[in-house]
Each structure stands twice: as C-alpha cells, then as structure tokens.
C-alpha cells in the first residue's frame, strides 16, 4: 500500500530527532507539525523571523502580525524568539537548523533539488526562501509523491526543471519509498508496498537497498 499524505507526514515526523530545530516548508511539509510527539522538544523555525512557532491560530488567536512563511496566522510557544530577516536567513545559511523539509518537483540521484519553477516560459518566476533553505540546513528532507500524475518519476538521473540547489537533499520521503541520494547510487531506506525490483524498473537511477 502506498502511503497517504498523512502517513507520509507521520513518517517524516518520526525521523526528526528530539530537540531538533526544524523549518517546515510551505504546503505538505507544514502537516509534519501535526505528528511531532508532544515533549519531543522539536522547535520550529519560520524564515519570516521566528523560532518557537506553534500551531495555526484560530478565532481570537489570529494576529496579522504573527504569521508563518506561508503568510497564515500561527501561534507562539513559550521559549519563542523573534528576529529580523537578515538574522533569520543568517541562521539558515549558517547551517544552524538541523532539518528543513520541503516539497519538490524533482530530485536527482545526486541530491539536486528542483522545487521553485517548472521552467514554463510564461510562468512568473518566484523563489522566496527556497534556495536559501535548500543550502542552509544540516539535513534537507524532501516530501513528494514518487511519480507525477502522468506516471513519470520525480526521482531522476538529473533534474530537467530549473534547480533550487545542488546536491543538497539528504532524504526523499515519497508515498512508496524513502530514499537517500548519494554521489554514485541512491539508497532505498524504506519501502511501502513496493519491491526494490519494481522501483528499479520504474526509476532510471541506480538503487541499492539499505544495509
């Protein structure tokens, strides 16, 4: 059985070490917060200038001055701190975050990430903090379905979409398997209802199963 989006979020949450400082990208990565174990001590960073971000704000909690990177209202946890944008991105660029979780259009076997532009000629380019996040965290986790709607794989020998960052992805969480990109070969860390053989058939990248 392939994983639901919720199950994927749960598996990513499981793999975040207790006490980590983590940035959750816009979209699906945001849902990982729902599955962090209470008492895990994981602290969430939002690149618009906060550590210690809490859950989404509801009702009277909504404060237009307190949002996440997706500009949605959020809450503040005890032990939080605020800082300006240059300090926030210094924190990321300087390698202080333990984990950053992002979506992707494509990831290459060598860990290149493409998640900001489909390269369509009429698209309005917009990168936000994606390139800074990609190169900044100690580990970059990608969450995506392994195959696009047309069945083409999103884990590829080399990205055809414009890159966000080079060789920056440490782990790729998909609905059917989890991968660790490497210089020569991609390691299959875990599978969900699919065999290594079938993965090898459907992907154009060299795979090894986890030892």
């Amino acid at each position: 059985m392939s994983l639901t989006r919720e199950e994927m979020a749960r598996i990513v949450a499981r793999d975040i070490p207790d006490g980590s400082y983590v940035n959750l990208g816009i979209g699906q990565p945001t849902t990982v917060a729902d599955f962090l174990r209470p008492g895990s001590g994981v602290v969430l960073h939002t690149e618009n200038g906060m550590l210690g971000m809490g859950r989404p704000a509801v009702g009277d909690e909504i404060d237009p001055d307190l949002t996440n990177a997706g500009k949605q209202p959020v809450t503040e946890l005890p032990g939080a701190s605020y800082f300006h944008h240059a300090d926030s991105f210094a924190m990321m660029r300087g390698g202080h975050l333990d984990v950053c979780i992002m979506g992707a259009f494509q990831v290459s076997a060598g860990g290149d990430l493409a998640n900001w532009s489909t390269g369509a000629p009429d698209a309005i380019p917009a990168v936000g903090g994606a390139m800074d996040l990609a190169i900044g965290a100690k580990q970059v986790f990608v969450m995506m379905t392994l195959f696009a709607k047309d069945g083409s794989p999103k884990l590829v020998p080399s990205c055809t979409y414009p890159l966000t960052g080079r060789g920056c992805v440490s782990r790729v969480y998909t609905d059917v398997a989890t991968f660790a990109p490497g210089a020569d070969v991609v390691r299959v860390v875990e599978t969900f209802g699919i065999s290594i053989e079938e993965l090898s058939t459907r992907l154009d990248v060299p795979l090894v199963s986890s030892p």
Binding site: F83, A126, G129, P162
Partner: protein, 220 residues
Amino acid sequence: MTATLTTALDAVSAVKEGDTVLVGGFGMAGMPVELMDALIEYGAGDLTIVSNNAGNGDTGLAALLAAGRVRKVVCSFPRQADSWVFDGLYRAGKIELEVVPQGNLAERMRAAGAGIGAFFSPTGVGTPLAEGKESRVIDGREYLLEYPIRGDVALIRAHIADSMGNLVYRKTARNFGPVMATAAALTIAQVSKVVEVGAIDPEVVVTPAIYVDRLVEVAR
C-alpha cells in the same frame, strides 16, 4: 538627527521621481499601508520597489503598482494567490522584475547598511539565478558574489517609537524593517504609537534611532 514626527503625506514627499524605495513587510505583516497610500497621493513615479513580495490584494504596494508608479520590482516572491495587480502588469510587459532569493535579498540590504562592498553567498549556486554572477570556490564550497542593494528611501512599519526614533516591532511583523532602515539614505517609519524619550528600555530597542529620519503615527 532626532527623527521628525510628521504626516504620512509630508513624510513621503522625500521620495523623488526614479527613486529606489525599500518597502517593508512580509505579505501584509509589517507593510506600511498608510505610507503607501500617501505615496500614491503624493505622486512620485518611475520607482524601483524593493520588497519581499509584489503586492497583495488591492491595497498597499499593490495599489501603488496599480497606480502605474513603479518601473521595476526587486523581490523574492511576486507570484501569490492575491498578486493579481502585479501579475497583470508583468504579463502586459508593463513592469520589470528582478527575482532575488529571500535570504540574499535581506543580506544584500544588510550589506548596504553595513558598508560591505560585496559578499560571497552559497545561495543560488547551480541555479538559473546564478547566471551572470561571479562565482568562487572557498574552502571547498562554491559561492556567488552578491552586491549591496541600497535604497533612496525606506518605508517601514514598526510597533512603537520614542520621539528620537528608536523602534520596537511586533512579532513577525519585524521581518525586513530593521534591515531596510539601515540600507536607505532616508528611513520613514510608520508606527502605532510614539512615546516619550526614555519610555523604551535601551536593552530592547531593535532599530536604534540613528537609522530613523521620519516618524508617522497611525493608530491601529
């Protein structure tokens, strides 16, 4: 000089035709909406706007774009669910766009404020945004050379100011304000309240008064 407390319209009269204007805010958090309104009323045009986004909805920066006053936008993320004003101008070829990764945008303004001539950033290496940039390998890692972004005027929103111009912000509305205040020749801060000198604890000042030239009080 101690900051001057004035009206929004008087404050923005410092903006000249063709100026580069740094506009604070991340989405609407920290956006100095009333200063943008005054800038529309005042009328300077041919502006280059540096801001994280390219306007939301029909107010603030979006309204300035709609009024045809902006020649170019330098930002990290123009395309949003509610960026229809920018989208229309861009597709019609009526506005220039320079996309800069968000962290480089912040750091380039910091460099302008801090007197740094240029810096090597690892962000964007190997991407289309590296095109035309000088690159260098330092200590085994590749970097791109990034230059300062200076403003003629910065328009920012803070929370409370004292009458000298010391500023504190509120939550994530702090975002670009403290950086932009250092990077412009003239900084205009819209604040919710101006208090007397001495009413802000010197330990908690985020933007020292030296960076603030004009204050506009807009109760929220």
